[in-house]
């Protein structure tokens, strides 16, 4: 496809290796320069640690990887089942999206201890947290992909007298494959991270347990050895999924021609949907607590939260605590979210324009996402200070990777025939990017923007909990340790409601843009 001139050949061949080698050298030198600060271990020191403790690391990796893999499979199967339900039975679509969003918003600080009480000792809390970490980022691209097809194809299925199931199997499933791959690739590091954080709930062994130990013991080599292994595993998972996917996806993406959408939903119907989702969520919340027979001491129901927020004598104080915390969090969250989205989209475009940089960009991008945030936080804080900037950057890092992967897949969804036309007119790469690739990317970009709303909230609360100690993440951790479960559940409810509102805002913007560029998504 690409015809390299002799002058281009060298960078094309060496390019993929040059970046990583340079990065390693900078890392080694940087670590040596910072050796007194106890934040960064050199690659050489990490290798020595790994070879000295190979057996310990291998056992921990085996445990965490097993839990992550189980969570990965369960979470992604759940996502595929939910997406199928939403497409085969379109009436359930809004309910599926709404409930999936709200469940994804539940903070780890709150769900971890409850899962531990429900499941007792053993791997299930870790597996469930890994599954919870992945299902949503697969569901959203998949819902986009199941609609990313020319309406003519569906008409064809219908003209043969076949129904929705046939359309799903023969047409939609194939169209969704690239989007599913994007979802699975995003899920690989997320599952591993979910399993590690799940170990914070009192697991006996695994990489997460060792990470806590290493951080508290100021054992920098061990910390970074763990982070390096976690990263390597995530990168391998990402690449393996991509490799398997390429075996199945040979065809060039089709041109998607669809009639412009008719003006979106009526306001009253959207309002009813929101009410229905809220009612369903409250019913599940209340019913779930009943079903699991959890103690009212720590399992607070919808009524307890309402009482704590509006009726209790200290309700005003509770509300103002929450409001202040949310304000602190918002200052970090919004800039981090926007910066992460922008960085992800721009890097994806750069990779498409200059394929040579992908050898460096991809591993760095995956590494940034999969290095446990608790390991990178001290380094980021050291470099950027303990102020807002450090937290903003950490949030941006968490948002960046799903956006980058989704946009990269989106950019590659540029229809083959349109690309041929552009090529035959000798259009420059910039023109191709601007007129074909970016419009093709928009559905994926907005899917990323939506799924990153709760993801960024999760990121900011984890950073606040483990590193900076302010905002809503700190309020949640503090109220859990002081048994103030009314406050904890109120925070959780508030975070869920605000995330859903943020999601709805992005959705509104998306409908406007996609009505022009990808109307098939709105059908």
């Amino acid at each position: 496809m690409t015809i390299a001139t002799p002058a281009q050949r060298w960078p094309v061949r060496a390019g993929p290796y040059l970046g990583p080698i340079l990065a390693l050298v900078i890392w080694e030198l940087g670590a040596r320069a910072l050796s007194d600060a106890f934040v960064l271990a050199a690659p050489s020191a990490i290798l020595i640690y790994l070879s000295d403790n190979a057996a310990l690391m291998a056992r921990a990796l085996g445990v965490t990887l097993g839990n992550a893999a189980a969570g990965f499979v369960i979470g992604n199967l759940a996502a595929i089942a939910l997406a199928t339900l939403a497409v085969v039975w379109p009436r359930s679509d809004a309910m599926v999206r709404g409930l999936a969003l709200l469940v994804f918003c539940l903070p780890l600080v709150a769900t971890g201890p409850i899962l531990r009480v429900v499941f007792g000792p053993g791997p299930w809390p870790q597996i469930v947290l890994a599954a919870l970490a992945v299902y949503y980022t697969t569901l959203i691209p998949l819902l986009v992909g199941l609609r990313a097809l020319p309406t003519g194809w569906l008409d064809l299925v219908r003209s043969y007298g076949r129904g929705r199931m046939a359309a799903l199997i023969h047409v939609r499933a194939m169209a969704a494959l690239p989007y599913l791959v994007a979802g699975l690739q995003i899920a690989a590091p997320a599952a591993f991270l979910g399993a590690m954080v799940g170990e914070f709930t009192g697991a006996e062994r695994g990489m997460g347990v060792l990470t806590i130990r290493a951080m508290r013991g100021m054992n920098v080599e061990m910390t970074w050895a763990l982070a390096s292994v976690a990263t390597a595993v995530a990168v391998l998972g990402y690449l393996a999924i991509g490799w398997i996917a390429r075996l199945f996806m040979a065809d060039e993406p089709p041109v998607i021609l669809a009639a412009p959408a008719e003006g979106g939903r009526k306001g009253s119907r959207a309002f009813l949907t929101v009410l229905a989702v809220a009612a369903a969520m409250i019913a599940i919340w209340w019913g779930g607590l009943r079903l699991l027979n959890l103690s009212p001491f720590f399992a607070k129901g919808p009524w307890d939260v309402f009482e704590a927020l509006f009726l209790a004598p200290d309700a005003a104080a509770t509300r103002s605590t929450l409001a202040n915390a949310m304000r602190e969090t918002g200052v970090f969250l919004l800039p981090g979210y926007v910066a992460g989205l922008a960085a992800g989209a721009v890097l994806a475009m750069l990779v498409v324009l200059f394929p040579a940089i992908s050898g460096t960009a991809m591993p760095v991008a995956i590494a940034l996402r999969s290095v446990p945030i608790i390991t990178t936080a001290p380094l980021v804080v050291l470099i950027l200070g303990r102020g807002a900037l450090g937290t903003v950057v950490l949030v941006a890092i968490m948002v960046f990777f799903p956006t980058f992967v989704a946009c990269l897949h989106g950019l590659r969804q540029a229809p083959g025939r349109v690309m041929d036309v552009m090529r035959s007119y000798a259009a420059s790469p910039w023109q191709v990017l601007l007129r074909v690739r970016i419009p093709a990317m928009l559905p994926a970009f907005f899917a990323a923007a939506r799924m990153n709303v709760p993801a960024s909230v999760l990121a900011v609360t984890v950073v606040e909990w483990l590193a900076t100690g302010n905002g809503i993440g700190s309020v949640m951790a503090l109220s859990a340790s002081l048994s103030d479960y009314d406050m904890l559940w109120s925070s959780v409810a508030l975070v869920c409601v605000l995330s859903a509102m943020g999601y709805a805002c992005v959705g509104l913007l998306e409908r406007r843009v996609l009505a022009a560029y990808a109307p098939e998504q709105l059908a």
Binding site: F38, A60, G112, V117, M218, A467
Partner: protein, 333 residues
């Protein structure tokens, strides 16, 4: 280091022989009685912090009392109170301030034993810029988890130190900012961050809060009122094992450390760190009071001091939060 997850009895014979009465070792009493299954919820990851319990488990002292005990590990996202309230764990390891908070929220807890007579909170500073007495804190930057702000406030009130003259930096749970010069001192447990610093070769000075009026029982054993009424025999048997285990721990902390590492080869424990932690824990757990009355003991006076300090932490409690009847049965007094 042995990598076997199962404890080798011969290994323990060698490492722990000096520490214990030899009579018990030959026997394998674990299945001699009808076993009642109970769980003990620990407050943190497995380490020598709980080595007394490991000794009791390993030597079969609980099995002798008819108990099959599971030790449930804690962690950063594993509060102790929910499993105890919900009955997953019969007994939990908490601290008087956390227990007081939970009781205020309606949890029916009683404290039935006090493992740490002296509160383990300490202020750690670099030896070249030390904090030796509370008044040294004025004008200093202190790194700590924001959750512990009330602890610092209480210390200041107890010692007439100007709280506003201290700058709090939310470093949460890492000792690294002290080494990096970001803060002048850290608030943490004496057996935690300062041990890590010492092992890493950083000269440090610690000031124990308990030496400056901060009286809060720590590593306390908590049970629900319901368990106390209905599962009394199990609780007595569990605490009897704990008392024997911790007395054996005190005899030889190095042997206790070896046992900890042998029992939890996957925990990533460092021998030197654990030995130092085990040794530093002894003066926190044992005092003239326990020498006279036995492990876990308290008196009306120590409870009164606790209530006073807890009031500074905005916790109002009454002496009936503590219930000594189990210990009295164990120690036969």
């Amino acid at each position: 280091m042995t990598a076997k997850p199962v404890i080798n009895r011969r290994h323990l014979l060698v490492t722990g022989a000096g520490a214990m009465g030899a009579g018990i070792l030959g026997l394998s009493p674990r299945h001699a009685f009808a076993q009642s299954q109970v769980s003990l919820q620990l407050s943190w990851l497995h380490s020598t912090q709980f080595a007394g319990s490991y000794i009791a488990l390993d030597r079969g002292w609980w099995a002798e009392g008819g108990l099959e005990v599971s030790l449930l590990q804690g962690g950063p996202n594993a509060p102790v109170e929910p499993p105890v309230v919900s009955g997953t764990a019969l007994v939990g390891i908490s601290a008087a301030d956390y227990t007081a908070a939970a009781v205020a929220e309606g949890a029916p807890f009683k404290i039935i034993g006090v493992a740490m007579q002296n509160n383990p909170f300490a202020i750690t500073s670099l030896t070249e810029n030390p904090v030796n007495v509370p008044s040294d804190l004025e004008g200093k930057r202190i790194g700590m988890a924001l959750a512990n702000t009330p602890v610092l406030q209480a210390l200041c009130t107890l010692n007439d130190v100007d709280f506003d003259a201290i700058e709090i930096v939310p470093t949460q749970y890492s000792p690294q900012p002290l080494v990096a010069g970001e803060v002048d001192c850290l608030l943490s447990w004496e057996t935690d961050l300062p041990v890590a610093l010492t092992i890493q070769g950083v000269d440090n000075t610690t000031m124990l809060l308990a030496d400056h009026g901060y009286a809060v029982h720590s590593q306390t054993y908590i049970v629900t009122e319901d368990s106390l009424a209905n599962r009394r025999d199990d609780i007595v048997a569990l605490m009897a094992g704990e008392v024997r285990g911790w007395d054996a721990y005190r005899e030889d902390t190095d042997a206790a450390t070896d046992l900890t590492l042998a029992m939890f080869p996957d925990a990533g424990l460092d021998l030197e760190t654990q030995r130092l932690q085990a040794a530093r824990q002894v003066p926190l757990m044992f005092s003239d009071l326990t020498d006279a009355n036995g492990f876990g003991w308290w008196t009306d006076e120590t409870v009164a001091a606790n209530i006073e300090t807890l009031a500074l932490l905005d916790r109002t409690v009454t002496p009936d939060l503590w219930d000594r009847s189990i210990l009295e049965e164990v120690h036969g007094s």
